[in-house]
Amino acid sequence: MNMLKRYLTFAACSMVISSASFAQVKVGVIQGLSGPPAIVDFGESYLQGIRLALKDHEASGAKVKIELQVYDDEANPQRAVALAQRLIQSDKVPVAIGTVSSGNVLAMAPVFQKANIPLVAGPSIATQITAQFIGEKPSFIFRCSMVEKFQIDGMLDWGVKKFKRIGLIHSTTGYGNFAAKEIQDGIKTRGSSLALVEAAAPGVNDLTPQMVKMRDAGVELILNFHESFELVYRPMAKVNYRPVVAGNWGLSSMKVMEIVGREAIEGTVMGQALDMSQPRSKTFDERMRKEFGGAYRWPVLAALGYDAGQIVFKAVERVGKADPIAIRNAIESMDSLQAVSATPAKPFSPSDHECLDKEHVFLGVWKGGAVVKLMD
């Protein structure tokens, strides 16, 4: 009898204790939250999505209390690495999300991998972020964001079909040069060539010289891979030249439309993962606007942040405690995600750590003040 009593008390106590351990889990977030708008717009929008996801998660009656530990990596890779270590060793987070610059992610991902802490990378888009670690058994690095290669492929397929003279403006940062190279290789394999390639410094105020040259070269489609997305548009009236513009998903920010005006941006094409003509996207858009007001400016970024947040929070909820390896497994095996973006219900598998695969990325176009899917 005594044995049974003791056993029952012990079981009861351990249940109480383990339910107390359903207490709190910290989720680390490293984003670019200061510096030039090209960084901040990405970082803040993604974070907005994460925060809304957390709100929804709590409203859905979650057992595990999740706390976000947010750090600003100031677009500096060393900072990112230091913050990664701080998250892992001081804050002891079992999972993290981040960041904007691909360079930063590539710098800090090895830290997470070695420490066996899962990282959902985003909104960085460099193609090799997951590819670098996918061979590891297991890989702790996931990504919930656009993959550069996919949007470039899509854009080039469409561009080469529709236009004869294609030009490229890119920034001289690592990203700009990298994208330029991918584009030039891609165009060549499609049996075409670029009419003109122009570069510009990242901090420049004005692209009039480059646009003049584009006009004089008779370019019909400009591939815009410069971080100050609006600069390509501003000289157009001055130099009397209105080509079609296509670029990466940066062109889908509402800020760009605000700056260059609805008429100017109409018809611009970019890589996308959020079709505003879908009702689900519209609902999300309204909720974001309600939650964040004027600070909300980038639907697709927020959508992917929301989905990344959902994935992480659901995984944590399923595991119930701060167990990084279990959380990693839960992320990888997740299969009932209701994503806002084009992310499928089962985003990952042991050989695929990308939220958006090639088939989920499509081309979007500005139409009447919103970005919808481009129909052929």
Binding site: V70, V81, Q89, S102, G174
Partner: protein
């Protein structure tokens, strides 16, 4: 400030550094977490760079807003040689340092013609150019995506590897701090401080100003380069975003918050900076405001920085700080005989924009005699002195020292040939004590190596110099001012100190520019007495004065200038009777000071 530094003490340096070295080898293995180790590594190499900046700005007064540029050069130098050329780390880090050293020397030479804010602009532009080059030259540097998989220090596991690396960083920091302390506490430190306050003075005690300035630039940059090299191997990854102007400003902030020109300033400042950065890390909304407020607060309330504030606090408590008692064993000057040479001025001409200040002036100052140069205001007396001293270049004629035509030699060269001078407007260095001002006149006693080991063991290489300085001051009767700052003593005493410094140079010819201007009769008598004694020791003296009684009673020969021309040379009696001289002055003979 030198006198109020936090870390000054009387323990033998080698004891302190040995203890430090031991700590460097033990501390990393105490089992800190990876994050703390990472931060400590960051502290080490940032402090190294800040020490270099402190040397540049705090000691030699040269502003560098492009320190990050040298940091970058070191980082890329080490990263590229170890990554692409497969050099071992122990070779690539010195290479990166050396690369920055040469870059610093180049920039230092380029910037020789610039001063102050203008120099700041040039260094700022340099920093920008390096930043842009790092970003664009993607083939070499990898641009913003950077270089990856840079070799790191190895170890049996990942954590022991970082422990080993921390030990390396700590040792480097210790060595650099040692070098900085050595410079700070010995003649080099004095010379740098002199350079900062008055380059003309520095030249007049024989310091080759351009070389000192460029060399300081080179060393400061080498420190930044070493820091950059250590940075490159810390995470195995560098990208051009790390080397922007914000890094230069951050290092400047660390140097200022710590306390410019102090020994412990860089360490304190770097620590404070890192604490601030970590504290505002999570504050993305108000981070910059906090940063700005801290800057304002520190600069307005603690301009001397942390080290200065601590120094002031500790001098309040430890007022009875034990200092080494120096017994002055020698009486009189430390040198017995001066070998005075003849000074001849032949047909000297100096023009300014069409005005001829000195028009074909010739006179001879016989070896071991006192020669006076007088004339109404504006006659060109100080110009003649400055031309002889090499401050101005002459437009005609020559200056001959002994039998050696000085040609177009600079002030520093003339000083090293034995030409010493005092200044009309007193060029004492305010940042150092009276004794140290005098010590600036001495030539280096021993080789650098010997001085270093002497300093380590506190056998007091400085002690000998200090005692000699004390004797010179005693000779002039002001030895009780030895440990005071120039601002703390009376004007009359300051003039004597200036004279002491000139004597310390063991001159063969001494140029005195209005030595008793502003002194009362008693003080002037003292100076006259000293000048007579110097003559008896064999010094050749040329002095410019307005006070007739002083000149006539003291000088063997007198030359009179009027509107840039020499109108008379002769004994005092002859001059006083000369009609032209009397007419020029419109006054009578023997009038005392105005």
């Amino acid at each position: 400030m030198f006198a109020r530094d936090a870390l000054s003490g009387t323990r033998a340096p080698w004891l302190v550094y040995s203890a430090g070295f031991l700590a460097c080898l033990l501390l990393p293995y105490a089992g800190f977490s990876g994050f703390v180790v990472h931060q400590l590594q960051t502290f080490c190499y940032t402090a190294i760079a800040v020490i270099g900046l402190n040397l540049l700005l705090g000691f030699s007064g040269q502003m560098s807003l492009g320190h990050a540029g040298f940091f970058a050069i070191g980082a890329y130098g080490s990263a590229i040689t170890s990554l692409k050329l497969n050099w071992p780390i122990y070779l690539s880090i010195p290479f990166g340092t050396a690369l920055s050293f040469f870059a610093g020397a180049l920039v230092g030479v380029f910037a020789l013609r610039t001063r102050g804010l203008y120099l700041a602009m040039t260094t700022l532009a340099f920093g920008f150019i390096v930043d842009i080059a790092a970003q664009r030259w993607v083939d070499l540097t990898g641009g913003t995506m950077g270089l990856m998989l840079i070799p790191q220090v190895g170890g049996s596991s990942m954590s022991s590897a970082s422990f080993n690396y921390l030990a390396l960083c700590l040792v480097c920091l210790l060595l650099v701090q040692m070098a900085a302390d050595f410079i700070s506490e010995t003649a080099s430190g004095r010379s740098l401080r002199a350079l900062r306050e008055s380059e003309i003075f520095a030249a007049s005690v024989g310091l080759n100003v351009p070389i000192w300035r460029a060399a300081t630039f080179a060393f400061g940059s080498a420190c930044a380069g070493l820091a950059g090299s250590l940075f490159a191997h810390q995470s195995g990854f560098i990208g051009s975003d790390a080397f922007t102007v914000r890094l230069s400003v951050a290092m400047l902030i660390a140097a200022v918050i710590g306390g410019l020109g102090t020994r412990s300033g860089p360490l304190l400042g770097t620590a404070i900076l890192l604490v601030i950065v970590e504290t505002i890390a999570g504050q993305e909304k108000f981070g910059l405001i906090i940063y700005g407020l801290i800057l304002l607060f520190v600069l307005l309330i603690f301009p001397e920085g942390a080290a200065g504030a601590i120094g002031r606090l500790s001098s309040k408590f430890a007022s009875g700080a034990k200092s080494i008692v120096y017994n002055v064993t020698k009486l009189g000057l430390p040198f017995n005989q001066f070998n005075g040479l003849q000074l001849e001025v032949k047909g000297l001409v100096k023009k300014y924009h069409g005005v001829t200040a000195v028009d074909s002036v010739s006179f001879k100052v016989k070896a071991g005699s006192i020669h006076g140069l007088i004339g109404p205001n504006g006659a060109g007396k100080s110009t003649v002195i400055n031309v002889i001293a090499g401050v101005y270049t002459h437009d005609g004629g020559s200056v001959i020292l002994g039998d050696h035509d000085l040609g177009f030699k600079g002030t520093a060269q003339r000083a090293s040939l034995g030409l010493a001078r005092t200044f009309q407007n007193l060029q004492l260095i305010q940042a150092i004590t009276v004794a140290e001002n005098v010590m600036l006149g001495f030539k280096p006693r021993w080789s650098l190596a010997r001085t270093f080991f002497d300093w380590l063991s506190l056998k007091g290489c400085e002690r000998a110099d200090f005692e000699d300085a004390l004797s010179v001051l005693q000779f002039l009767g002001v030895d009780d001012t030895a440990k005071k700052l120039p601002s703390e003593i009376s004007f009359g005493h300051r003039k004597l100190v200036e004279l002491a410094r000139a004597i310390a140079q063991q001159p063969v010819v001494l140029l005195l520019d209005e030595p008793i201007a502003g002194l009362n009769t008693a003080e002037a008598k003292k100076i006259a007495e000293v000048v007579r004694q110097l003559k008896s020791l064999g010094v050749t003296i040329l002095l410019v004065e307005h006070n007739m009684e002083f000149v006539m009673s003291l000088c063997d020969e007198v030359s009179v200038l009027h509107y840039g021309r020499l109108i008379a040379t002769g004994t005092p009696a002859e001059i006083q009777a000369n009609a032209e001289v009397i007419a020029a002055y419109l006054g009578s003979k023997g009038s005392t000071d105005d």
